[in-house]
């Protein structure tokens, strides 16, 4: 492992193997239900696959972090308890959680299990982090993607936990864990159901002018044939205001903060995270490979520049951004 831990997504056993073979220090994954924030059809691990994946990772010196990071539903808490038991039984190296009830349950069930605070908890102050550390023994905090690099540096100075920051992949513009756009239109959200824009509510219609994407029947965007597109989420919809159609919340674009790795490392970030459990093995192999090269280059005292534009074609809408890390709008 280099000076910064590289944490990569695994939506399936094939993706987990591809990530580790490409140089991931850790992989994160979820079980096949609503207890994790990527609850898509055909994705994720069953108990047996998870145990095999942990074994595969450990034999190669990598760690497996299991996301149980949605918020437990009243009356349905047993499902979250079962996921915690499965992850612990499989030999996971850490559980990533956001819900107070899930954190408390894991702490009581297995006091030695490492707890990482999910980005879904949106902890962005030293006081909030201290609460999670003192109450549940949280060892690492995944910081929200709405924080700037200087804000993260300030936070680390006063943080009693390790800090993990997203550096590549999809972006949420809302305070994470508190976005209601998807549930407003479809009745399901990442926070509660593990899906933003649930696929059963998404449709694409081919027209003479191009492709129209819809969520629960509401048009989100109209893309001319062959033009770049984004995910069919409400935050990436194009809306008419003052007679002009524009992306009002967020343009379809992906985070790529490879150019900020040195700054994040100097600030004391312990681990960097790649988003995209829903993507696939081609994606994770390429992104992991590029970030492995970049971290290794930094550790040799070299620039990350040669690797910074290797991944543009994987970006949503074909465009990359450093997002809130270079925030200039507040």
């Amino acid at each position: 492992m280099g000076s910064i831990e590289l944490v990569c997504p695994a939506g399936s056993p094939a993706m987990l193997e591809a990530a580790i073979e490409a140089g991931a220090d850790s992989v994160y994954c979820g079980l096949r239900d609503e207890t994790n924030a990527r609850n898509f059809p055909g994705l994720n691990f069953d108990a047996e696959e998870l145990a095999r994946a942990v074994d595969f990772a450990h034999r190669r010196g990598a760690k497996v972090l299991v996301a149980i990071n949605t918020f437990a539903r009243a009356g349905g808490e047993d499902r979250w308890r079962a996921s915690a038991k499965t992850a612990i039984g499989a030999g996971a190296d850490a559980i990533i959680a956001a819900d107070l009830a899930v954190l408390a349950h894991v702490r009581d069930l297995s006091p030695t299990m490492r707890l990482h605070l999910s980005v879904q908890a949106a902890a962005n102050t030293p006081e909030a982090i201290r609460f999670y550390v003192e109450t549940f023994g949280v060892r690492r905090v995944v910081v929200p993607r709405v924080m700037s690099a200087p804000e993260i540096a300030e936070l680390i100075k006063e943080s009693s936990a390790e800090v993990e920051a997203f550096v590549f992949g999809g972006l949420c513009v809302m305070t994470e864990g508190r976005c209601a756009l998807s549930s407003y239109v479809s009745g399901q959200s990442p926070n509660l159901s593990g899906v933003c824009s649930p696929p059963e509510a998404v449709s694409f219609e081919r027209t003479a002018e191009g492709m129209v994407s819809r969520l629960s029947g509401l048009a989100l965007d109209k893309t001319p044939s062959g033009a770049t597109a984004g995910y069919p989420t409400l935050c990436k919809g194009r809306f008419a205001a003052d007679g002009e159609a524009a992306y009002l919340f967020e343009e379809p674009t992906s985070l790529n903060a490879m150019g900020l790795l040195a700054r994040l490392g100097e600030a004391g970030v312990t681990a960097v995270k790649i988003e995209g459990r829903q993507r696939g093995k081609a994606y994770v192999a390429r992104v992991t490979h590029a970030f492995r090269k970049a971290i290794d280059a930094l550790d040799r005292g070299e620039s990350t520049a040669p690797y910074e534009h290797m991944l543009t074609d994987l970006a949503e809408g074909g465009r990359e951004t450093q997002g809130a890390y270079n925030k200039r709008w507040r």
Binding site: P41, V202, P232
Partner: protein, 180 residues
């Protein structure tokens, strides 16, 4: 430039020719599915409620399309006419043949192909995601799809290179990198 009537005739002739090859092509593809199922039956289970549903895979640059049905016990592929295809598909996935091949063997990223406007999906989006995730888990190789079992291991790197070359050629306007 071809007259529209000539174009229609030419398309019909090509389709008829492709359909004349239906028995060996279907045999090859159905064997490929059987092999993939034997190797990773669990992967097909990832289709969940979409097992047994029909997908239309439409390589827009070929004269015919493919009707794919996967079940927990295997599946079938049939060549179909694009103009006279039956209804009742749960989803339709359309794109250039080489892009679809690269998606099937997992060497291309599906989301990136979609973002780039090189892939269109209609029908039930959940069915498309389930198929994508099942194929990822099945860990298919190109040769599993395009070659008899005995030749697959040796042919795979060659086929990979051809598909990569064709995809690169598409992106550079028909001229692959390094070819002048």
């Amino acid at each position: 430039m071809m007259h529209p009537a000539e174009e229609r005739l030419s398309a019909r002739v090509l389709t008829d020719l492709a359909l004349a090859l239906r028995p060996p092509v279907e045999l090859l593809l159905n064997h490929a599915i059987k092999r993939a199922w034997r190797r990773s039956a669990n992967a097909f289970g990832r289709l969940g409620p979409y097992q047994g549903r029909h997908y239309l895979i439409d390589p827009v640059d070929l004269p015919v399309a493919f009707a794919l049905t996967l079940t927990k016990d295997g599946g079938t592929v049939k060549l179909v006419r694009r103009t006279r295809r039956p209804v009742g598909y749960v989803a339709e996935i359309a794109g250039d043949f080489v892009d679809l091949l690269a998606l099937f063997d997992g060497s291309a990223d599906a989301d990136a192909t979609f973002f780039a406007g090189e892939l269109t999906v209609t029908g039930e989006t959940g069915a498309v995601l389930a198929l994508h995730n099942a194929l990822e888990a099945a860990d298919l190789r190109l040769a599993d799809l395009l070659a008899p079992a005995a030749l697959a291991p040796g042919l795979d790197p060659v086929l990979q290179r051809i598909v990569e070359w064709r995809r690169a050629a598409k992106r550079t306007g028909g001229k692959p990198h390094g070819v002048h």
